[in-house]
Symmetry: C2
DNA sequence: CTGAAAGCGCTAACAC
DNA sequence: GTGTTAGCGCTTTCAG
């Protein structure tokens, strides 16, 4: 490939058309005040030269880049990717470009450099799409003042001072547990995600609250903590079988761990769902093909990402009119997908 | 949030420090020709004001943005996400920002607008991370002249005129098939991916070539086409059992379809691996927890993405020195992960 | 309808 | 060491 640097600029077009650069600018911006003949001539030359206006130069002078900064983490997992998928789709629809940053780990607290990096590139707003873990959200309560663009946070505890778009994991836990109760199960165990994850705590709490509301006890013995991986699910389930031998159902905080529950149960000669009803969480595309097909909670991460972009863009528009931006919290409800692992045929 | 537009510029810093903007520029670029006192004073003011140089303005004047355009597709699937994960990690390491575009579908042939979009933002190079399907690469052979920045393509047939970084799927098919031969299997069937996918054809070809090299016949009856989904795997396997009843092993082009093979086999009372050895492809994190644990081919997509970025950045450096860029093809070998589904204990 | 001048925020190239 | 000038590619403002 032979280097041929130097891009075609508005000047080249102007010269070729024998008009000033302002006229070209008017044409490419669809302004009405250009004579039809001039406009046509300019358009012809633009396409002949293959001229492409520089969004960079535009961003500089217009003080808006139509670019969103996206900070994510854990793209190798399917959840964050699905969310990003929703983000790209909606951003495309609204005509925004995306500058992507992935944190090296979920709990990175190198916040400031990330924000600076994005701000240096004049992004119009920021989407913080990193799950809330441990104290990786502490900065939200403080640092807010310094950031000169709107931010929307995904997947964290809602908070009146900032905009949050998230799946309601508590409801997810409720729905799963209620479904098991409806199947006539009353001794429902739980394998949770790592409890420093906000999502894991919410799912756990939904399970607890539903049991309590039904007048059923929640004991320490009925819950074991996993770390989301199938491997951890194996150990957690064995421990749970031990500590809660009466258990007739289990709500597992994600499908990967639920897969191990199915496997271990099979190995032990248990029949699912007859001996034990199982409900997972996440609705992996494989879950419908586990044995038995796994009942699970589906979170619409595509929608999640889309709504977050929409909300951020709304805020940006308000912000750029120099009006006060009011934070908004958006909670999306997950839904139950009933399959074989939880329902005993009558 | 109260709008407080107007960013702090180099001028503000210059004024505050009582020097010219040029001096500030020298300080932030670490140039040696500034007196230690001036430098310190400027640095203090920069941190006091929280000044952040505009990469946008820099990009404009330096004719390099340190930004790569990434075009991807199918982020809701794990493969593209893992690759993107590799891309973000390496880009971060090399100090490049990423502008992300996701095509609405795998086979979109709206190429030109995507390229224009990225070029308008002065990206220094492009990573085309969309799998080769049908004729969605035809443009590569032509359009090359028009694009004023280096491009690296991922996951496609290598081609002497362009830079391609890809997993060698043919070898993947070979390794899988050879492994089955080594287990003493000689009637090895294949469930392929959709044959308009280059990757599917390569895996298929690797299977065919290995059988032929071993002096074994490859018949039409021994291969059925799926569409990557578990659901399609179900039908394909049933068809294959019918058309190739003697089959003693099957190489399945991805783990999702292989999952269905395991399930159907189980339902039919077949014992895997005794009655049928199964090898998948992709190494999903769940595959180790299928019943039986699935032997599969692992492709290191993290590495793939990383190498692609590295290669692109190398090219960019050459290109910006105005030297001729020579295309390079990089082929990564996938590796066999042996688990229970293919090996009969002696 | 069209053009000239100024400037977005920065740096290259030169002066002193 | 430091300042001045010019300009990256575009749009805004104001003249005409």
């Amino acid at each position: 490939m032979i280097p041929q640097n130097r891009r075609i600029t508005i000047k080249h077009v102007a010269k070729e058309a024998g008009v000033s650069t302002q006229t070209i600018s008017r044409v490419i911006n669809g302004r009405p005040d250009v004579s039809p003949e001039t406009r046509q001539r300019v358009l012809d030359i633009i396409s002949k030269l293959g001229y492409q206006p520089s969004e960079l130069a535009r961003s500089l002078i217009q003080r808006r880049s139509c670019t969103l900064g996206v900070v994510t983490a854990g793209l190798k997992y399917i959840g964050p990717s699905r969310t990003l998928n929703g983000i790209t789709t909606k951003a495309e629809e609204l005509g925004y470009a995306l500058l992507l940053k992935e944190l090296p780990g979920f709990s990175s607290n190198e916040i400031q450099p990330q924000l600076q990096f994005l701000l240096a590139r004049h992004i119009d707003g920021i989407l913080w799409a990193v799950p809330e873990i441990g104290n990786n959200r502490d900065w939200v309560k403080e640092g807010l003042t310094g950031i000169p663009v709107p931010i929307v946070y995904l997947t964290m505890q809602i908070h009146p001072d900032v905009s949050v778009v998230t799946i309601d994991n508590h409801i997810g836990g409720e729905i799963a547990t209620r479904h098991l109760l409806e199947q006539g199960r009353h001794r429902i165990g739980h394998i949770s995600g790592p409890m420093d994850w906000w999502e894991a705590r919410q799912r756990n709490q939904g399970w607890q609250d539903t049991l309590k509301k039904a007048g059923l006890p929640v004991t320490e013995a009925s819950c074991v903590e996993g770390n989301w991986s199938s491997s951890s699910g194996e150990g957690a389930f064995q421990q749970l079988l031990h500590s809660y031998p009466d258990m007739d159902a289990v709500f597992v905080a994600n499908d990967q761990m639920a897969l191990s529950v199915l496997k271990v149960a099979h190995r032990l000669g248990m029949n699912i769902p007859r001996d034990l009803s199982v409900v997972g969480f996440d609705n992996l595309s494989e879950s419908a093909f586990f044995w038995p097909a796994l009942t699970t909670i589906n979170q619409n991460q595509l929608e999640l990402g889309g709504q977050a972009v929409q909300e951020l863009v709304n805020q940006i528009e308000v912000f750029q009119r120099n009006e006060e931006v009011t934070p908004r919290n958006i909670l999306l409800s997950p839904e139950l997908i009933v399959r074989e692992s939880s329902v005993v045929e009558k």
